[in-house]
Structures are given as structure tokens and as C-alpha cells.
Amino acid sequence: MVRAYVMKLEKEDGVKVESVSNGEEASEFIKKNKPVDLVMLDLMLPKKSGFDVLKEMKENKLWKGVPVVILSNLGQQEDISRGKELGADDYIIKADTNINEVIKKIKKYL
């Protein structure tokens, strides 16, 4: 599913996209790499939850200023509040949003 908007972004807008496939890889990525312009974060990730990744990001000196857009199908009020409390800039419920709206929101931060 991530491939859908990654393809569109890379192809149509020339955005360079790095992607990881689980929460632990995301943690590793933050530790080993320089900050990026925007992080798109899912919550239900294998091995480590998106909430934990977000928390680590916000505790990391280099990465804490990077905007984070949560892109998830967890859409309960408490999930959204928790994401925002942890410092997410936006919260997109995937199933309720069409792909062009997602791209539009991403571009706002680039």
C-alpha cells in the first residue's frame, strides 16, 4: 500500500523516498541516518509500534524537529489524541482518504 503513494511521489514529484518495513528498522534508521524532511508513520507495525517509534524520534535531538504525519487505519479518537500528544503534526486515516489527498498533505510539508 505504501508503494502506491511512494510510486506517485517519486514518479510525479521527484521526491526521494526511503522506506523501512517494521518498527525496529525505523528505530535503527533514526539512529544511523541524518534527519529527513518528513516522516510518514504507520502505527500498527511489526516488531515495534509506530507510537514507540514516534516517541524515540521526539527524544532524539537531531530528529525531534522533523514533521511527522501518521498514516494509519487505527482511527479511534484515543489513537488520534495519543498520536498528537506524542508530537505528530497530522493524522490521516488511510481508508477514509483518497490517494491524491494523501499526496497533497505530504507536499504541504516538503
Binding site: M1, Y5, K8, S72, L74, G75, Q76, D79, K94, A95
Partner: protein, 448 residues
């Protein structure tokens, strides 16, 4: 009194004679006295005998009366004993903890389950102030004296119950904390409250099941929506021809897939809201809403559907601005669902009217259409979950039957009422009676 003493000193008579005479006098006197005494005694004995006889009779009567009473008492006692044993058996075999307190909060009766739940033997519990045995917490906070259910019960004389959603916990001296459901009932003597009955149970299992249930709904909806998002987005990419130009019928097929995907997503979202309302887990954030503007915005969002069917739609209000204080998401869902239904079940070129009217302490909001209506014999089931009227099923085979259930739940969240009218015959035309069509849904919102 005659001279009873013999005169021993008389000189004319010999000593022996004197003694004889004296003896005879003595005898005579004694005999006379004896007779008198005898008579008196006899009389007394006779009188006493009568009295004794009377007393005896009285005693016998008393005895038999007492025996009767004793017999009765014994029977009552036996009955009471049986009753007491029966109550004791019921109380001790109850699955709930039971404590009876007097009006000073002192415990006077405790059942086995209460001992088990509170982890203390009866002798440590009986005669104690119940407020000192356990402390009641709401979440992590100690419940204030005035908010204690028992206190409220003593004040109001009403039965007070605390359930799973109240989030009450017992905190024991041992440090153990567990969620409880409690019912406090007054014990009355006439109008006076003389004590209370506390029935309680440990609801740890129920609580965790409840948590699991809402967790399950949340995860299930996530897992269902994830693949659907994938279908949705790739279909959108296909439709916007990211993967190359589409032939006419290819586009048509993909359009179908797309529509169904959106419907399925909507259905899952509705089910999710429904289960959360049922579980009492909807967060309500009331804000001030201008109902007319709010309705116009919703109509605007649905405009593409209205245009498609060339429907006429109007909004009428009894005042220029009618404002309410409600959660906007909840209100939007309710109104949009009703308008959506009207659009769905009204034929092309039909008409939909929205009336907003303030009447006293409430606002009556109605959505009227001249659509297919609700058959008389199915009107009582219209708000049932998954129910669909026969004519609705024919017209829109893909409906789910949960829209109106949701609207009802939502309206009840703000303590409003909901009803509808779908008369069988409403119009009399020059050509005679015309079958009445159309449905009007009404709901109320309290004015703040």
C-alpha cells in the same frame, strides 16, 4: 374474763379437794377454749380451703393457657427457624458478597462470598465500620465521603448501583485493588432507614473482557480497513491512469470495484461507530452549532448524489439562526444519514425538505421526502439493527440496514427523541385517492 386462776389458798377446803376442783375448772375451761378454738380453726380451714381451691383452679387455667402459648411460640419459633435457615442458605450460597450494616455503618451480617472477596474472616469483619474495612476508589482517586454509594443510599433512601462503566475499585488493607460492581439498598422500618444491604462482586474478568471487546473491534476494523485501503488507492491510481490508458469498459469495471470498496469502507466505519456507541465509548465534545448553516454544509457535501437524481432539496427554518450545543461529528453523522436515506429511497426528480423548528425547550429537526415510504406492517422494525424494509431492499439491494439504528443511537446520546411518519394514504387528488408516499423522520435536540 372470769377468774381463771384457782385459788389454792382457800382454808376451808382440803388441799386435795382444792386440787380436784382446780383440776375440774381447769379441764372445763380448757374444753370450752378448745371447742372455741376448734370452731375457729375449722372455720379458717374451710375459708382457706375455698381460697386454695380457687387459686388452684386459677393456676390450672394459667398453666393450660401457658401451655397453649408455649405450643404456639414453639411453632412460630420453628417457622422462624426454618425461615432463618432458608435465608442463611440463600445468603451464604450467593455468588455475590453481601454485607448488612446498621445505620452507623457497623457490619451486622456478612456472607461467605464477602469474606472471600475481602480476604478477611467473619470475626474480623463483623461489628466494624464498613468504611474502614475497604476504601472505594474511582479510577485512582479515593471517592469522597459524599459520593460514596452507601452515603447516597442513606441520604436518598433509594437503591444505588455502581456498574462496570463507573470504574469503581475496592482497595483492601492488604493492598489488593480490584474493580467492583455494587448495589446498595436501604433497610427500612416504616419510613426510617435503619441500615443497608451491600451486595457486591469482583468484576475483574468482566472488565478485562470489556477491554478485549473494544480492543477487538478496534483491531478488527483496522485489519479490515487495511486491505480495503490498498484496493482503494490502487484503484484510484488505475482510474487516474497512472498505469496507462484505460479502455471504456475497463474503466467501467474499475469504477464498479471502486464504488463497492468505498461502500465497504463506509459500512465498516458505521459498524465501528455503532459498537462504540453500544459500549458507551464515544467521546462527546459539544460545541456551538448554527443548525441552518450546518445543514447547508451537509447538503453541499451530498450534492453530487442529489444532482445525479435531479432531486429538489430545500431547507426551511422557523428562525434565522437556530443554534445548539452538540458534538459536531455525532450530529453530522445523524443528519447526513437521514438525508442520505431520503436521497436513496426517493425516485428521480423527487423532493426532499428539511425543517428546523424551535418549540419551547427543544428543536424539532425533520427530513421529509416523497420517496417510497415505509410499509405499514414493517414500521415497528425500522430502527432494528440490519433490518431492511421489503421495498427498500428492492430499490437499493446494497444497503446494510444499520444507518437508522446508528441515527437512533446517536440521537439518544444527546437524550433526544426520534420517530417517523410514513402514512399509507396522504393525498386526495381529483382522480381520487392516491397512495401516499414519502417518509418524514423527526428528531429532537434540547435547547441550551
Amino acid at each position: 374474763m372470769p377468774n381463771r386462776m384457782p385459788n389454792y389458798m382457800t382454808p376451808d377446803i382440803s388441799k386435795l379437794d382444792q386440787l380436784k376442783i382446780a383440776h375440774n375448772e381447769e379441764l372445763m375451761w380448757q374444753t370450752t377454749r378448745g371447742r372455741i378454738i376448734e370452731r375457729i380453726l375449722k372455720q379458717k380451714v374451710f375459708e382457706k380451703t375455698i381460697k386454695l381451691d380457687q387459686k388452684l383452679k386459677y393456676l390450672l387455667q394459667t398453666e393450660s393457657a401457658m401451655l397453649n402459648i408455649l405450643e404456639d411460640t414453639k411453632e412460630v419459633e420453628q417457622n422462624l427457624g426454618r425461615e432463618r435457615d432458608r435465608i442463611k442458605t440463600i445468603v451464604s450460597s450467593m455468588g455475590e458478597g453481601l454485607i448488612v450494616v446498621d445505620k452507623n455503618y457497623q457490619t451486622v451480617l456478612i456472607n461467605k462470598m464477602a469474606e472471600k472477596i475481602l480476604e478477611m474472616p467473619e470475626n474480623e469483619l463483623i461489628g466494624k465500620d464498613i468504611r474502614k474495612i475497604t476504601s472505594l476508589l474511582k479510577g485512582d482517586q479515593k471517592v469522597a465521603q459524599n459520593d460514596l454509594p452507601l452515603e447516597k443510599m442513606f441520604k436518598t433512601g433509594e437503591i444505588i448501583s455502581v456498574g462496570i462503566d463507573d470504574d469503581f475499585y475496592y482497595f483492601l488493607p492488604s493492598g489488593k485493588k480490584f474493580p467492583v460492581a455494587i448495589i446498595d439498598a436501604p433497610l427500612k422500618n416504616g419510613d426510617e432507614i435503619v441500615g443497608g444491604i451491600i451486595v457486591f462482586r469482583d468484576i475483574t474478568v468482566e472488565k478485562s473482557l470489556d477491554k478485549m471487546k473494544s480492543g477487538f473491534v478496534s483491531i478488527a476494523s483496522h485489519q479490515l480497513r487495511t486491505p480495503l485501503t490498498s484496493i482503494r488507492w490502487f484503484t484510484e491510481m488505475l482510474l487516474s491512469e497512472d498505469a496507462g490508458k484505460l479502455k471504456k469498459n475497463q474503466k467501467e469495471f474499475i469504477d464498479q470495484i471502486y464504488d463497492s470498496t468505498l461502500k465497504l469502507i463506509e459500512l465498516i466505519n458505521t459498524l465501528l461507530v455503532l459498537s462504540r456507541v453500544e459500549a458507551g465509548k464515544i467521546e462527546i465534545k459539544p460545541v456551538k452549532i448554527d443548525l441552518i448553516k450546518f445543514s447547508k454544509d451537509i447538503v453541499k457535501e451530498l450534492n453530487y448524489l442529489i444532482k445525479e437524481k435531479q432531486l429538489k432539496i430545500e431547507i426551511k427554518a422557523s428562525k434565522k439562526i437556530i443554534s445548539v450545543k452538540l458534538d459536531s461529528t455525532i450530529l453530522r453523522q445523524a443528519i447526513a444519514n437521514l438525508i442520505n436515506n431520503s436521497i436513496r429511497y426517493t425516485d428521480k426528480k423527487g423532493k426532499i425538505s428539511i425543517f428546523i423548528e424551535q418549540k419551547g425547550g427543544e428543536i424539532i429537526y425533520s427530513v421529509a421526502d416523497n420517496g417510497i415510504g415505509v410499509p405499514k406492517n414493517q414500521q415497528d422494525k425500522i430502527f432494528d439493527k440490519f433490518f431492511r424494509a421489503d421495498n427498500a431492499r428492492l430499490k437499493e439491494p446494497s444497503g446494510s440496514g444499520i444507518g437508522l439504528t446508528l441515527v437512533k443511537y446517536l440521537v439518544e446520546l444527546w437524550k433526544g427523541k426520534i420517530w417517523f411518519e410514513s402514512p399509507a394514504f396522504v393525498e386526495k387528488t381529483s382522480a381520487g385517492k392516491k397512495e401516499g408516499r414519502g417518509t418524514t423522520f423527526y428528531f429532537t435536540i434540547p435547547v441550551v
